[in-house]
Each structure stands twice: as C-alpha cells, then as structure tokens.
C-alpha cells in the first residue's frame, strides 16, 4: 500500500514538473520574452517625424537580420518629433556612423520595424549616438491619397504632380 502510494506521488510529481516545464517553454520560447536580448547591448537614438504604428520591443533589423529592439518611444517637446531609443546587441557593434534608420512595414500590412541601412563611413556608432539620417514610416493613407490625386482619369498637369513627388522625398535618404 505504501509502496503503491509512493509511486503515485512520484508520478504526480513528474506530471506537475512536466506541466510547469511546458508552461516555462511556452512563456519563454514562443513569446516576446524570447526577444529580450540576453547579452550585452548598447543604445542608439533616432528621431522620426512620424513613427506610424511602431511599438515597444519592435525588432531592429540590418539587412533583414534582427540585431536589437526598440526600447522606448518618447516625444521631444521642443522639436515635436519622436525620439526612438533602440538597443542593439553588443555583437553587432560595427555599424557605420553615417547609417540611416527607417521605419518599414513587414509585408503589406504587417508589423512595423526599424530598418538600418549601413553607410560607408570608417567610424562606427558608439553607445548613445544618434542616427543623422532617418526616414519616417510610410502612411498608407498618404500613399493612397497621392495615388488618387496622381492617378485620376483627367491626367493632372505636370505642376500638380511634381509637389506630390517632392513631398515624399524631402530631406530623406533614398531607399536602397
């Protein structure tokens, strides 16, 4: 009887352990917790006039590879633009200091992320540096608006077209 009870208890203990192991696996490996960088990281700053739907912990990618995440998003009360602080893994320390940061959308309607386009400078970015060149997120409404204006059946005059193009490319780096 006691032998039997003991085997019950061991089996139950194993079952409970298995359950908690499964919970720990789900919570750490399949959720955003898994995205917290484990190793050392350093912080960079970027200013955007519009961040769109960029969220905290959104990925930061260079050449499509995830190198860090968005740490905080604040509004600069003086300049009225958004300051996005990103933390980049220490192992990706070689980012030229003339690189550009842009907010992209994964897929047509997916989540937004910060994409970094590397520059060619021999100097690398250090902790606390700010990106000089940034490109704000594309607003779908703006794009649709421009498309409706420029793509209307009555062929708009050239003068009407030019400002619309100008607006999209003003003071922003070209897409790679």
């Amino acid at each position: 009887m006691t032998q039997q009870r003991r085997s019950y208890q061991i089996g139950t203990g194993l079952f409970i352990l298995l359950g908690f192991a499964a919970l720990a696996y789900l919570a750490t490996q399949t959720t955003s917790v898994a995205n917290f960088s484990q190793g050392e990281s350093y912080a960079l700053k970027a200013r955007f006039t519009n961040i769109g739907q960029l969220k905290l912990r959104a990925p930061v990618k260079l050449a499509g590879v995830r190198i860090g995440s968005v740490e905080s998003i604040t509004l600069d009360p003086a300049k009225l633009d958004a300051i996005v602080r990103i933390s980049v893994d220490k192992q990706y320390a070689e980012i030229p200091d003339d690189s550009a940061a842009a907010i992209f959308t994964s897929g047509l309607l997916g989540d937004q992320y910060v994409g970094i386009q590397p520059g060619g400078s021999p100097d690398m970015m250090k902790d606390g540096d700010e990106f000089v060149l940034t490109q704000s997120s594309m607003q779908l409404e703006d794009l649709i608006g421009k498309f409706l204006v420029s793509g209307s059946p009555q062929k708009p005059a050239n003068g009407q077209d030019a400002p619309a193009d100008d607006k999209s490319g003003s003071a922003q780096p070209p897409k790679p």
Binding site: Y8, G11, T12, L14, F15, G19, T30, T31, P59
Partner: protein, 255 residues
C-alpha cells in the same frame, strides 16, 4: 399535463443550479479539513491529470498539425503564410488550448469521477463513510475538486506545447516554411500576459467547473445503475455547455 410539466422542468433546472451552487459552497467549506487527506489529493492529481496525458498529448499534436495545415493553406492565398506560426500560437493559447483540453478532460476524467462517486452513492459507501465519521465531502469530493483545478492548467500547457510542435512539424518540416520565420513571427506577436497566462486562468476556471459538475452529478445521482449512467451522460453534456459558455464570458472579461 404537458402544460403543467414545462414550468416544473424549468423549476427543476433552476433547483439543480441552486443545488450545485450550494454544493460548491459546502465543498469550499470542507477544503480546510481536506488538507488532512493530502495523499488522496495527490492520488487524484495522478488519476485525473497524469493519466490524461496520453490523450491530451495525442490530441494536442493533431490539433496543432491540422491548424498549421489549414492556416498555411489559407494564409498563403493572401501571401502571408509566414504568419502561420503566429496565428496557430494565438489561437491555441487564447482559445483552443483551454477549451479543447477542458472538453477532453470532461470526457476522460469527468465521466470517471461521476461514475466513481455515483457508484459509491449507489452502493451506500458514502453513507458508510458518514457512519464512520468520515466526511465524504472532505475525503471524496474535495480532493477531486482540487485535483481538477491543479491538473487542467498543467494539461493545457502540455497540450499547447505539443500543438506548437505539431504545427512546427507540418509548417516547417513538411510545407517548407522557414524555421526562423516561423519562430520570429510567433515571438514577435505573442505576449506572456495577454495570451499565455490568460489561457492558464481560463484553464483554472474550466478545471474547477468541470470537476464541480462531475462531482455534483456523482454525489447527487439516483442510487441505481440507470441513475449512474444518466449522471455520467449529464456530466459530459453540462460540462461541455458550461465550458463553452464560460469561455465566451471569460474572453469578454479578459480582453
């Protein structure tokens, strides 16, 4: 006759609900005393939890696999097959894991609890316990109730883990979705609190409800073989309805 019968059926179900609520209060009242029967609780966790592992794991694997298959097919029509892992994980953690596990639990463990307690009632074992000054609520019902509350959340976690594995096998190994895409999209979209832990809270509630219905039906069964059969059927039917209804209510509150 038939006109007089309808209101009495309504009254009967109301009385059942009331009796079930009082039964719950009685069981909760005996919980402090049932600490003495801790060994019995452990045995019940083994019986309703660990013995359900095989069915839970098998079903989890297949549910995840079929979810991965369907979602990959549907999402690739919209060019977003990469989101398959995300949708599988969210659907599982939020709804399918707790609900399917609770339904399986009602079928696998709820029925045996009802049949066991019902037969104890039919063969006067419960009355014998009372004669020996052993409170059947504290010795028979409370350990099973506690075991259900402990076991179902753990089973849900196992179910979810196996379902993710099943979806991974189908999407990545079979359909050729990129492994990194599968995991990184999932980890980007799934949150610990709003997705994983809310599912676990649901599981706790479902475990309590399923075992409450099972023990109540067994405890109040008519002491005949027909009564036990009827009580067992009713356990499955009532548990399924209650779990699905409660799921809707809890989702509305937790969102």
């Amino acid at each position: 006759m038939s006109a007089a019968r309808k209101p009495s059926m309504l009254g009967d179900s109301l009385a059942q609900v009331g009796a079930c609520g009082l039964f719950l209060l009685q069981v909760l009242g005996t919980l402090p005393r049932s600490v003495r029967h801790f060994g019995e609780t452990v045995r019940q966790v083994w019986f309703v939890g660990a013995m359900s592992l095989v069915i839970i794991m098998t079903c989890g694997l297949f549910v995840g696999a079929v979810l991965g298959l369907q979602l990959y097919d549907v999402l690739s029509r919209f060019g977003s097959a990469a989101m398959s892992g995300t949708v599988v994980a969210l659907a599982l953690y939020r709804e399918l894991g707790p609900v399917v596990t609770a339904l399986l639990f009602a079928g696998r463990a709820g029925t045996s609890i009802t049949a066991e307690i019902g037969l104890m009632r039919a063969t006067d074992q419960l009355a014998a316990m009372e004669m020996m000054a052993v409170d059947p609520l504290a010795y028979v019902v409370a350990p099973r109730f506690l075991a259900g509350i402990v076991a179902v959340p753990l089973l849900v976690c196992v179910f979810n883990a196996l379902a993710i594995l099943g979806a991974h096998v189908v999407c990545v190994s079979w359909l050729g979705l990129d492994n990194g895409t599968f995991w990184s999209n999932m980890t980007a979209a799934v949150d610990v609190h709003t997705d994983v832990l809310n599912g676990v809270w649901k599981a706790v509630a479902f475990g309590a409800v399923c075992t409450l219905i099972a023990t109540f039906n067994g405890y109040t069964t008519a002491p005949t073989s027909e009564g036990v059969a009827y009580a067992t059927t009713r356990t499955v039917v009532l548990s399924s309805i209650t779990v699905l209804a409660l799921d809707f209510v809890m989702t509305a509150f937790l969102m």
